[in-house]
Assembly symmetry: C2
Homo-oligomer: 349 residues x 2
């Protein structure tokens, strides 16, 4: 069975699916949007078009839809599509909260259709390098993983600016950054969630967050995003008792840092600062830190749609399971509660 | 009245006071230690020596002592010195906990002697640059201050390795890093304390911590220290709604980053990553971020002993007040409680 995809919403992500899904053998069967200009664009791009989701859902050539509409519409569109017998890929966040997700899942179960979520950041090269280091013990016992995303652009685009559409950075990116951590360490339980969420430049929706997950495997994950930090921290900093890994960008530039003689014995060094000496924070003697290349990983996002095809042909399990998506939404809700109350939220203990 | 200083403990910090305090007109009247080798060294350095604190405290030429003994001895030595009628400067942390500090303060009040603490990091250039930016609104409303100290040396020296001597990094450096934040924003209350404290390479004492202070002025301070991160983050990262400040080292190298056109309007940019596009985290167009030099500050640690002299001559208030020191100890205790329980500790609300 070939995936014959109906794209619901022809904005930035709708176009992106249209252009990229065919690489996995997916055929774009139809596109709909409620804006004339976007329908016109879709026609020019060579697609069958509709001016509403309802119309597209009646097209029997479509067996699967992708929901690339604003976040607040995912639930409604998902339930409609399920009732129309279509399999469903939704953009992330799958839903605004767990209650919505449960309704969506139930509707899909009832209709006997497949539901999955485009958590495309599971194919990010930078994250997969960290995952490999974790799995292979490359840094020894990892005690800290810092996942940071900084922008100097200051803005959010389009509907992401508004609360009623499910805007803000936790919905847009928090959902990826949390999912990546849980994907990386699937067997670890989350002991607690603590968060700081701010409105730096946007009054209506969050544009800064730090979410700290203490995991029961000894790792603490520090997830930070800002739309207005003008000198970016590395995308990843991972500290283990045998080394440190730094990955600067999405492209996966960075290195592993290890020490040779360091842990056995070193001559004490002293640094004199304006206000006094420090031995502890004196520099390491030259050659004390050895830089190694990052491990290699191969990744191709197109595996997402290959997996969707395989699932629909009973050849594989879904790589993005609703239980996982639900867990991430739970962390997002805990993060909001934590930020509002000043308290940490104990989970999964 | 001239400060005639008796140095109790002639280890690293004892020697440092001996060499540096005279710049403020302090005379080193005597030195004591319990180790023969250190007494020998003090004699060679030209000082009157004693083999016990008790003997030194009987020397009438000494009117003030500095306690440069391991942390667990501060209380005992302080009380003895107070009873002997000596004014007291103690190394940090002043005490292992608030209960000890209260006993010390009471003993000094009873004896009518002055007690202060060598919180020398209030004269650190890097911190004072951040303080200036905060006071002058250089970055607009500051939402985050990250104070980080990373070492690749992996070790701690001497008694800092042992719990019974008051070892570990929270006592050694946490006390400075917390004090700096509270010194920087004296009018802000601490809403909550959350901490992650780990034993990465040392089983007995902490060698990694992250302490998050949510302040009632909208600033969240993230204080992090590790003895084993091999690629250091900047000493400071400060984010405001008008710019970002980065200070790399104790020496105060770094810059202020600001945006010009950024906040009004920019052409949308898209970055294609392996796993999909991002507009939010696309790079800023060239010239979009303007780099400015850090503000200038002048600082001289010797003001610490000048202030001690002025206090003893009724010419000034103490710059390091016991109430401030007590507050820092309270945060350290809250941090430990938070790390043990996984909960945040609400304070000063």
């Amino acid at each position: 069975m070939k995936v014959k995809l109906g794209i619901i919403g022809y904005g930035g992500m709708g176009k992106w699916h249209a252009q990229n899904a065919p690489r996995a053998g997916v055929r774009i069967a139809a596109v709909c949007d409620i804006e004339d200009e976007k329908i016109k664009q879709a026609k020019e791009d060579g697609f069958v078009t509709y001016d509403s989701a309802e119309a597209l859902l009646q097209d029997e050539d479509v067996n699967t839809v992708v929901l690339t509409v604003p976040n607040h519409l995912h639930k409604e569109m998902c339930i409609k599509a399920a009732k129309a017998g279509k399999h469903i890929v939704t953009e992330k966040p799958a839903a605004l909260d767990i209650v919505e997700l449960d309704e969506m899942e139930l509707a899909c179960k009832k209709a006997g259709v497949f539901l999955t979520v485009h958590q495309n950041r599971r194919w990010d090269k930078d994250m997969l390098i960290v995952k490999k280091a974790y799995e292979e013990g490359l840094l020894g016992n990892i005690f800290t993983i810092e996942s940071k995303l900084h922008s100097a652009n200051g803005y959010m685009h389009e509907w992401h600016l508004y609360k009623k559409y499910g805007g803000g950075m936790i919905y847009d990116w928090g959902v990826h950054l949390i999912d990546q951590i849980l994907f990386m360490m699937p067997d670890a339980k989350i002991n607690s969630v603590y968060a700081d969420i701010k409105n730096v430049l946007h009054d209506e929706v969050d544009d800064y967050f730090k979410i700290i997950l203490k995991m029961n495997n000894g790792v603490t994950a520090h997830i930070e995003l800002s739309t207005y930090i003008l000198n970016y921290a590395p995308r990843w900093l991972v500290g283990g008792d045998k080394g440190t890994m730094v990955i600067k960008t999405f492209a996966g530039e960075g290195a592993v840092y290890k020490t040779g003689v360091m842990l056995s014995k070193l001559p004490a060094q002293i640094t004199e600062t304006v206000a006094g000496p420090t031995r502890q924070f004196a520099p390491v003697p030259p050659g004390g830190i050895v830089e190694e290349p990052l491990p290699e990983v191969e990744t191709d996002w197109i595996d997402f749609y290959r997996n969707v095809t395989d699932v629909l042909n009973n050849k594989a399990e879904s790589k993005i399971k609703i239980a996982q998506v639900r867990r991430v939404l739970g962390v997002m809700e805990a993060a909001r509660k934590s930020a509002e109350s000043g308290k940490s939220i104990l989970l999964e203990q």
